[in-house]
Symmetry: C2
Subunit: 247 residues, 2 copies
Amino acid sequence: MNHIPTNHPRAKSLYIRERLVEAFDAGLIAKEGLMAHGRGEAFDYLIGEKTSKSAKKAILAAAFMLKQARNPVISVNGNIAGLCSKEIVQLAKVSGAKIEVNLFYATKSRRQNIFRVLKKNGAPRIYGMDKKNSTKLSGLDSARRIVDRDGIYSADVVVVPLEDGDRTLALKKAGKKVITFDLNPMSRTAETADITIVDNVVRAIILLIKSCKNPKEIKFDNSKNLALAILEIKANLTRRARNAQIS
Amino acid sequence: MNHIPTNHPRAKSLYIRERLVEAFDAGLIAKEGLMAHGRGEAFDYLIGEKTSKSAKKAILAAAFMLKQARNPVISVNGNIAGLCSKEIVQLAKVSGAKIEVNLFYATKSRRQNIFRVLKKNGAPRIYGMDKKNSTKLSGLDSARRIVDRDGIYSADVVVVPLEDGDRTLALKKAGKKVITFDLNPMSRTAETADITIVDNVVRAIILLIKSCKNPKEIKFDNSKNLALAILEIKANLTRRARNAQIS
């Protein structure tokens, strides 16, 4: 549908956008997911569309937490399945984490479509598919409260990429450690999680997989790191205000 | 589909989001339009979801330019039709501007759906609907190059809400004055236009209609005003870094 000029200043971002439109057409993503992606694009633009120093630090801390976990689970929604199913499966393998499908705008067909894409990319077992094994997280209204008894419900560490704030809070209240990818360092999710990776998940997940192969303990304070992420955006704004030409 | 809690910190933004989803379902908006809206949401969040000082100034300047114009035209795409058709018609009436449908992702059915919504809201005549009367703007690849001979092609001032950068440049090269609404003060559109209103069009258009009823000449420098808009975002980031809780 769309032809992206190769000399476009933001071609990479436009390719990712196309991948998301394709995933929408394939029934993986909700309309709201397309808008959420747009919000992410804007924040990615503000951080300069590259992995920042603060994000690299959060990735190191996340890898260590994942490798130390007793029962880690990666929560997968439509957007993340559309953008990086292959990498999700790699991350699960390298970190020993389970994969669970967990949707905000839940429909049976979307769940099945996501399941198929994950399977196609080599996921061994996928949680969150069997109603008989589901239970509820308290303090949540949306369909996301329904979790797998052997997945998120019994996890000690949950990776929730592209998350909503209410859910992160509910997971925290249930005593979980939460690792999230969120391009907005001021969001409730970012502020509630134990480790917030302020980066485009498409870039960051590759670095997280690498770090899981060679985990190192580092000193990490999420609030301080988020403050650093905001400073990075402010520095970019100053730079762009001087010389940016971007559409 | 979606129930928005009335106490949600950003309920207004979520209502606008729902309106856009409805417009998508009604065939007015492209998938890419949903993502573009998401980008706008992020920038609106950064400017504090209110009309800033710099935006108010740009609105005053825009009203004066519109009222002085010999042949002003408002360019309408799917998003703007979905968000504020009624206000577009009001603005056209109060400013003496023509309305032209001009789409980036053009399909006949979307064009017809937008036409119907504008008609329903009282638009007298709508340009850009008759192929026989179309011609091309030079320097543009997308479908947006096709304009109405009696509309944008012969306009002296064009209002282009929610615009892409290439097109604003092409309009400038064709000798038009361009007024745009763009929530990103660093975009090419923002930098290329003569007057850039850095505000949510849903809020700003109401103020623009008011100002057109009582136009005043003011001193206005778009570059300086954009620099001010960026400073406003930076100030908001500082404030939010201290106390924001937003999802």
